[in-house]
Subunit: 324 residues, 2 copies
């Protein structure tokens, strides 16, 4: 089993590779090779028995994508993307990386011919939805994004469905909740603060909260993101019919609830490191984001959510301790 | 007022031009020039005072589209498309004409700079929806097309929304019902028979009905299509917010109801020219199409439907008589 991972150097990509290397098999077959691709070369210590080919490049370069597909991976994880804030600021770059990259990938797979139909797991986003919303967004609610990032993800979903329907690829799109707590540094995503207000206080640092405490959001842990990917890679796709893209189950929590969970796990001194500094630009972007979902389609086919936000905080603390 | 019409040689395009030339003004301004573009050169007898520039070309050729936009039309009607049956049969051609053409158009408009923000009326289709459906599809139902044509239209809608949201264009997308009765010859659209079973019997010819009598469909007359375009071109778009694409109001009728309306208007002898010859391919495509809508968003902003199917049949007879 040869696996291609686009966006392999990102937080989710690195965790996915760790998991694949720990499992050693997927869908009942031995993992023999992993092609790890990103805009910066992924750093992976390869264990025995698995050939790791790490490479850096541009996913919106047609020849680059064709060369990756030419190795005929049995399974492809497409996690590469420009985040929402950057796609909004740089219109051309967003469409190039987030949409053109996917088009090249699908075309390269299709061009490989009838005997090649890999499983393609694509990470979409709840940013495909835009206000006004239903109270709980159901699986038949329209995609009406309010950002270019959300638009690009929605277009990729449509393409994934059509290429799957035509039999060119065996696609599954998973709309990830906002992943919290992301380790490391803040990124350019407008959602970056959702992790920051947990991560920075736990690390003894001040965190900026740019939105109101009653803002409600839809989140999942990094560990859940990897579970979603693994299930999407191995599930029976016949049950999906022509609708290959699913809203992943998450937790609907307010900022206040997140802060109370942090207090429960880590105490007042940690919570007091959160400083409220409203940011009109971020508030406006976040106001257009969905807050709660009925993700029953995904749960009916085997995806499952985190149990509580306190558990997510505890898992982050354990991860950081393991990392040293 | 300079107006660009892409797809000007088609049935709806020709009717739109007739209407514009009859009106002489639009949105309170004199129509001074019409650029009429299509894959075949549109034939238009120009009246005094309006400069008609008819041209044939490829809408999926970047330089061609840029040259059309360089004339800085104040209003653009984008009606050009490969029909559903052809887009399904020729995957590359469908994406090239139906999606790449729109991308080039939007990019050319954006590249023209901040002082240029034309009204762009785009004809989308109810083919953006795919089964399973709500009984009456509402304005917040997901776009889940079951054809490449529907996928391409849905992608164009997302792009139109995003480019409008960013202020590059002032877009309105109108999801046309199936237009019945189309004059002239059958075309490659899988929906062609919906017109054929009315048009051919009235012309003394046999018509093939490839689906069952209880098939329900969503239709509008050619005259309504032109009304929709005129209203989309002149309406206040502020009321649309970020959701620039609307399902147009239509009539939900079964084949049996259509046939009874034909009988009411034209009698048994005409109806008897319909021959039932089931076609599994067309039945499968049509089974994936929507049948009924709650188009209240469109009606709330001033679009209106045909009154009855018998009226549609009578209007077709009158049109044919006028044409001689």
């Amino acid at each position: 089993m040869r696996i291609l991972i686009l966006g392999a150097a990102g937080m989710v990509g690195r965790r996915l590779i760790e998991r694949l290397l720990a499992e050693k098999t997927i869908a009942g077959e031995a993992i023999t090779a992993i092609d790890a691709f990103d805009v910066v070369e992924p750093q992976i210590a390869a264990p025995e028995g698995v050939a790791i080919e790490a490479a850096a490049g541009d996913i919106a370069d047609k020849a680059t994508v064709e060369a990756l597909v030419k190795k005929r991976p049995d399974m492809i994880f497409h996690l590469a993307a420009i985040v929402s804030g950057e796609a909004e600021a740089d219109f051309d770059k967003g469409y190039r990386i987030n949409q053109q990259g996917m088009s090249y990938l699908l075309e390269a797979i299709r061009a490989a011919g009838e005997n090649y139909r890999p499983r393609l797991v694509f990470t979409s986003s709840i940013a495909v939805f835009g206000a006004p919303f239903e109270d709980k967004i159901t699986d038949t609610f329209l995609a009406a994004p309010l950002t270019s990032y959300g638009t690009q993800k929605a277009i990729c979903e449509l393409l994934l469905n059509d290429y799957s329907r035509k039999g060119f690829v065996d696609g599954v799109g998973i709309r990830l909740p906002t992943i919290v707590v992301r380790p490391g540094k803040p990124n350019k995503a407008a959602s970056s603060f959702f992790s920051g207000i947990i991560r920075e206080p736990l690390a003894g640092e001040e965190a900026i909260l740019p939105v109101a405490d009653d803002v409600r959001h839809w989140v999942a842990s990094p560990a859940s993101a990897v579970e979603f990917l693994m299930h999407a890679a191995t599930m029976d796709t016949d049950v999906l019919g022509a609708r290959r893209c699913l809203t992943m189950p998450g937790l609907s929590v307010t900022i206040a609830e997140m802060i109370e969970a942090l207090r429960e796990v880590a105490g007042d001194a940690v919570v007091n490191r959160i400083r409220r500094e409203p940011d009109a630009v971020i508030e406006k972007i976040v106001a257009g984001w969905p807050r709660d979902f009925d993700a029953s389609r995904a749960t009916s086919v085997g995806f499952s959510a985190d149990k509580s936000f306190a558990d997510i905080v505890r898992a982050h603390i354990a991860d950081e301790a393991a990392r040293g």
